[in-house]
């Protein structure tokens, strides 16, 4: 279970007259249940990535707090991070190491011993369909192969909570479907708490049990896909999202155009 309450974050850059202040997040609340996939849905720049970074303990929030399985991230960041597997938008691999070495390295950093980490790499390789790729150096990997390796790396310590930031970015249809299948299995077979940030409606419709709509750095609505459609009074989920995120005027503009 992940609970985020009243999160806010402000970024400042420059000095004196050139100083610019951006309120990236101004009040995001959500709860992600165990054995469920929660979608954080928002347009580009809505504050999804910043929110997830605060949840993962990478950024210290200016306001609000996050608890992962009851552990306060601000107070015990390392204990929280140990329960968390994160596939962030920065998913760089070490090009001179093999996929297996990349995965085992993170396993070691999560406190697994060499043999346990290697066993996990093998198991994840099978689950994610990495196969023969495991023993190849990651330079020259395709987008999909990179994503699979990065996901295996994030899951190497078998975390109870998984965070994915735009996981299907740059993936083709086959790879996207395969990823969806993996996430469903992680939810159904292992009861993981999964949070997924995305701006793709289709993904949310097909995958998420619970949706949190984020716009302008705030949570503007949440509920199941069906509930959100009903609340917006739209049969089409995309139209429902636009109405919820930007209000009636924007939704009307789209209809008229």
């Amino acid at each position: 279970m992940i609970v985020a309450e009243g999160l806010s974050k402000r970024f400042a850059s420059g000095f004196g007259r050139g100083r610019r202040v951006v309120d990236a997040v101004r009040g995001v609340d959500f709860q992600a249940a165990d054995a469920a996939i929660t979608g954080l849905l928002g347009a580009n720049g809505a504050g999804k990535t910043t929110t997830l970074r605060m949840v993962a303990g990478l950024l210290v929030p200016d306001g609000g707090h996050v608890a992962i399985a009851g552990i306060d991230v601000a107070r015990q960041p390392q204990a929280a991070q140990a329960r968390l597997g994160v596939l962030s938008d920065a998913r760089g691999l070490y090009p001179r190491l093999t996929a297996r070495e990349n995965i085992v390295y993170h396993g070691r950093l999560h406190g697994l011993d060499e043999r346990a980490a290697a066993a996990r790499a093998d198991a994840l390789g099978t689950t994610l369909g990495l196969g023969a790729l495991l023993d190849r150096r990651t330079e020259g990997f395709s987008q999909g192969e990179r994503m699979k390796t990065a996901l295996a790396r994030a899951l190497v310590h078998d975390p109870s909570h998984i965070i994915l930031d735009e996981p299907t970015n740059g993936l083709d249809v086959v790879a996207t479907r395969a990823l969806r299948e993996v996430l469903r299995r992680l939810r159904d077979e292992q009861g993981k708490c999964i949070v997924l940030a995305t701006h793709i409606m289709q993904e949310v419709e097909r995958l998420c049990d619970h949706v949190v709509v984020v716009a302008g750095g705030r949570t503007v609505a949440d509920g199941s896909v069906a509930a959100l459609r009903a609340r917006a009074g739209e049969a089409d989920f995309e139209a429902a999202f636009v109405r919820l995120a930007y209000g009636d005027a924007a939704a009307a503009g789209e209809t008229n155009a």
Binding site: G57, L84, S88, A90, R91, G92, L93, R96, R108, L109
Partner: protein
């Protein structure tokens, strides 16, 4: 903490070793450095020696001065006619010797006691000719003195009257110190080898990590930042130290390539010298690694980090210049500055001087403090995680 630092260090070390092309260039230059430098230096010294032994004088109009020619022959010098464009050649520096111009009627004027004027052409912009001009000048003064002595002797004045004082020149510099004049550049090149050796690894583990997008996943593991920094620094310093070791050891077989016998006799680099060099270089490699990481950690790309680290390279290459340029000799404050201290002390090792424990401990302490400060800064930067 230690276990995590070890895991990070081992991975970075493996990563650095797999970067074959960079590694080959770095190691090859470190290994080739000693022999190559010594070879070039010895060629230079051998050339100087050959020139010192070569006693030829370029002259114009020597046919008009048989007495002078006779004196030169008795001093075992040979006279050769100067090339027609000698003035331009001296200015171009293609001619490495001064040219003596004998005026017409020299012999007659000399016999008449008219003190004829000899012109010795050289150019102060031509160091080789300038150096050789000194020897020729002394030779001509010898001729003048002989003529004067002969004239006085003809008038019955004893020669000793003219020599109120006798000068006996003695060179106090022992052979090792003399050789050290030529080997003054060696410490500098060794320093540069260590710096460039560690640079790629230092940048790759910091700015490179950020550019690849692998820093964020790394920071989301529950490993303390201090352990990550320690592990990375261990690997980078390891590369720097390996380069230092190879560069020092390469001087041992490098001595076989010495072409100048004098330099070979004077340049003594044995196990003791190698050990002292290492004792000086290892702490410096540790500190430079930490410093370059500290400069690179804020940079968003490898390229930016390279540009910023030019400052470190500039500092580390300018500081040792003090020993080369400073004519007043070694100053106590030199041992407080990293790079300069090591260059100064390596120079002392080459000159065969003793190094006290304090001489080694002061730069070591400075390096340790510098390393700690830089690593603390890197860890703070990671904790602040300016990942926006």
């Amino acid at each position: 903490m230690i276990r995590a630092a070890w895991a990070v260090g081992r991975k970075e070390w493996v990563d650095a070793l797999r970067d074959r092309r960079t590694l080959a260039v770095v190691l090859l230059s470190a290994v080739a450095l000693g022999p190559l430098l010594l070879f070039v230096l010895s060629l230079l010294v051998a050339d100087l020696e050959a020139r010192a032994e070569e006693r030829t004088l370029l002259a114009v109009g020597m046919a008009d001065a048989p007495t002078l020619h006779n004196y030169l022959a008795r001093q075992a010098w040979t006279v050769q006619p100067a090339p027609p464009d000698h003035e331009a050649a001296l200015l171009r520096r293609s001619l490495g010797q001064p040219v003596l111009v004998v005026p017409p009627g020299f012999e007659r004027d000399l016999a008449d006691g008219l003190a004829p004027t000899l012109r010795l052409l050289s150019a102060s912009s031509n160091p080789r000719a300038e150096r050789a001009a000194g020897a020729v000048l002394r030779l001509l003064q010898g001729f003048g003195q002989e003529q004067a002595t002969l004239r006085l002797a003809l008038r019955g004045v004893p020669v000793a009257v003219l020599q109120a004082v006798q000068v006996d020149e003695q060179d106090l510099a022992d052979p090792q110190v003399r050789a050290a004049q030529f080997t003054r550049m060696l410490p500098f090149f060794v320093l540069m080898a260590v710096l460039y050796g560690a640079m790629h690894a230092a940048l790759d583990t910091t700015a490179g990590e950020r550019e690849r997008g692998s820093l964020e996943p790394l920071l989301m593991t529950p490993v303390p930042r201090g352990a990550i920094v320690l592990g990375k620094w261990g690997a980078v310093a390891g590369v720097g130290m390996a380069v230092a070791l190879l560069a020092c050891l390469s001087f041992l077989p490098g001595q076989w390539l010495l072409r100048s016998e004098t330099l070979a006799a004077m340049f003594q680099f044995g196990a003791r010298e190698a050990a002292l060099f290492l004792a000086l270089l290892l702490p410096l490699a540790a500190m430079l690694s930490a410093l370059m990481m500290a400069v690179a950690i804020r940079c968003r790309s490898f390229k930016e980090a390279q540009a910023n680290n030019t400052l470190v390279v500039l500092g580390a290459s300018l500081l040792p210049m003090v020993t080369v340029l400073n004519p007043a000799g070694e100053q106590p404050w030199q041992l407080w500055l990293p790079a300069l201290a090591q260059a100064t002390l390596m120079q002392r090792v080459l000159e065969g001087q003793a190094l006290g424990a304090a001489d080694l401990l002061l730069p070591l302490a400075v390096a340790a403090a510098g390393t700690a400060a830089c690593l603390a800064y890197v860890a703070r930067q990671l904790r602040a995680s300016a990942l926006t």
